[in-house]
Symmetry: C2
Subunit: 423 residues, 2 copies
């Protein structure tokens, strides 16, 4: 049961001019399941990608990087033309054979669409270390091409089509006006994390019909990812397949954006970032067994890096996460996490800690005014902000996570689902 | 249910000449519970300590460090004379008031034993951020002093007396002959980790009646801790109170050990390290809900540090730990953990992976010869070794951990026990 996550409404998802989407059933892992999604992009489109930092990255991630490198500097008419996504198999831990199979799907699609294979970007999510059944994906290409549509329903179908352990589809959309022209930003994401790991890859796809300079698009993708997908954590594990792609088609006919600093650039950046944040937060809200959405804000660091260390130490601690699930205002666990975060010269005697509006710790010790019932009241909420002030500097950061629900883990579902899944 | 952990047998615990132990009920948190343990050390004893690296360390840890600094260089007759341990309250996150209370217990004991307060080392484990009821501990001092005994039963009682979430007491003992004299090494530990965090502090106390040079004792304590307590992890959280103390009384009458490189020094070091490893592994074997004992060995790193990064990434991953619990040979999770361990220039194409005798991954990909039933056979065992070869250099390391059992987490025990505990 996702935390405060409304259902996707196709009528609220703006079509993006130049983007058509098809969905099909390839039987990658199971029959009768929509498991292949195709984004068909109009000529002149550009794509920028941000990928997993995991050194053990999956074959499609390696192929995506190769293709994006190939596309760099090519004329607009030879740019990116398709994103091909499959669920059911992550094509990770598959060595050289995995690269061959990922390239094979790109070649097969390119042949049908009369493109160079490098104009296709592949994405996979599902079981690890199993050979990708690329023959089945290739056999489904006519069906997925025949299904190409451009409206909000196509976006909603795509959001459903890339789901694995997700309990609900995830999509977001914004409309902005640039130089009098309506411009649209629509995106989908998947990822749920935690206990069902094979399928817990985070994928995010956002497209806009704005026209954007390639370098500006790359910067926007990086900044949007840093403000969104790079701030979420469910279980701390980084998938081999995590990918975020931002596409700009130029289809809206608005003037090209050459900078993020002007009014137009700022308006687009804000819309893209809002969509990315909503998509990223949706992943946390749909985290395995999540019952609470936790914002961890760390202020007063000397650098953003050290704020991130402290914030992630809190967000990754199983002890902190179980305390949130149990609504146990056991705040020593948060202090302990800050203590081992890796800030070498941290002075524990300076730290302040708040739970929402309740000021719990001052100068490293429990405030005499703090009453446990005040902490307990906050801990019962579905959305909680933990704020730590390090009193060392002026840097801040925020990350989002969920609690660690025994309720879910409890169930035999994990074992059962996995057994099903692998059998 | 601990994994392969035999019950403590008092007849197998050697008395250590110069060490007497008393146990009493102080009612620190609950009535009718042995919650205070006193180690009374003969004049001339030395102590060396290794403490939590958590920057948010508890008051007793700070006081221990102060007292050990004070003791440094003092004549033998003004050395350490007592270790005073309480359960029920960790005296952590208690600020200046916590220091005052920790010192107060040392002063009260010193007065009764006619010592300087600095000759007493305090240790606490239990709830965090609650004021230490030092008055109750001080009131129990006559009882704990009256209980002082020196035999194996006293050691067994101490092992039981320092338990918190532990399901069984933990003790180990060795006897070696140094220059014709029998020398004894006996120790106890506590810690279970994971879900019941307030009380999950790791404490280890090892005493020997060997006579050891102070600098050599400090080196031995550091090396023994690095080979034992610093290689275990249950949930990755580092407690604010973790402490390991090595005491040498000289009571055996054997010649003083001035080096760890001679035969005598090596014999003692081996005995102390064996005791420390057994005590450390016992903590993992008794980890919250542990059903499996996992050895993670990483070979072929450029440095021990990078091997540790990879080993702890594997050992801390909730995904890896749940896979072990589920006996799911889902080895991609292990590769993914190696990938995000933080070894920047790791080449995934070089990695080998074994599960016990089964060679699973070669050059970063699943071996064609590997069959899932072979992996499944290993995963069902109660003790499993994961071995990763990075093929980058000659360094190695080993860490020990347990699986992540949904069975335990499931139960309402966590919430119930905590509710009891804090009410």
């Amino acid at each position: 049961m996702p935390v405060n996550l409304p259902a996707v409404d196709p009528s609220q998802l703006h079509a993006v001019a130049g983007v058509r989407i098809g969905v099909a059933m390839a039987g990658v892992r199971k029959a009768n399941r929509r498991d292949v999604v195709l984004f068909d992009l109009a000529a002149g489109s550009l794509a920028a990608g941000v990928f997993t930092k995991n050194r053990f990255c999956a074959a499609p991630v390696q192929v995506c990087r190769e293709h994006l490198a190939w596309l760099q500097g090519k004329p607009a008419e030879a740019g990116v033309r398709a994103l091909l996504i499959n669920t059911g198999n992550a094509n990770a831990g598959t060595g050289e054979d995995g690269l061959v199979r990922a390239r094979s799907t790109c070649i097969a699609l390119a042949r049908r669409l009369d493109l160079a294979p490098e104009q296709v970007l592949p994405f996979s999510t599902g079981v690890i270390m199993e050979p990708l059944p690329n023959d089945r994906i290739e056999a489904a290409l006519p069906a997925v091409i025949a299904d190409l549509r451009h409206d909000g329903h196509a976006w909603a179908d795509a959001a459903a089509g890339i789901m694995t352990t997700d309990t609900v589809p995830k999509a977001a959309s914004r409309r902005v006006v640039i130089a009098g022209k309506p411009v649209h930003v629509t995106g989908i994401s998947k990822g749920a994390g935690m206990i069902r790991p094979n399928m817990a890859t985070m994928l995010g796809f956002v497209a806009t019909d704005a026209s954007v300079d390639p370098a500006v698009l790359q910067r926007l993708a990086r900044e949007a990812a840093d403000a969104s997908f790079n701030r979420i954590t469910v279980d701390g594990d980084t998938s081999t397949n995590d990918s975020f792609v931002l596409v700009a088609t130029g289809g809206a006919g608005a003037p090209r954006i050459d900078s993020l600093d002007g009014a137009d650039g700022r308006a687009l950046a804000e819309a893209v970032t809002e969509v990315a944040v909503q998509l990223a937060q949706a992943i946390v809200r749909d985290g395995e067994g999540a019952t609470k959405f936790i914002t961890v804000q760390v202020d007063g660091g000397r650098s953003e890096d050290e704020c991130r260390l402290a914030a992630y130490a809190i967000a990754h601690s199983p002890l902190v996460k179980t305390a949130f699930f149990a609504s146990d205002p056991n705040l020593g666990r948060i202090l302990a996490a800050v203590g081992y975060a890796g800030i070498d010269d941290l002075d524990q005697g300076l730290i302040d800690l708040w739970l929402d509006e309740v000021h719990v710790v001052h100068r490293g010790g429990r405030r005499p005014e703090y009453r446990e019932e005040d902490g307990a009241r906050v801990m019962k909420r579905a959305e909680i902000t933990v704020r730590v002030h390090l009193h060392r500097g002026a840097a801040s950061t925020t990350v989002w996570t969920c609690d660690f629900s025994t309720d879910y883990v409890i169930s035999t579902d994990y074992v059962r689902i996995n057994a099903d899944y692998r059998s």
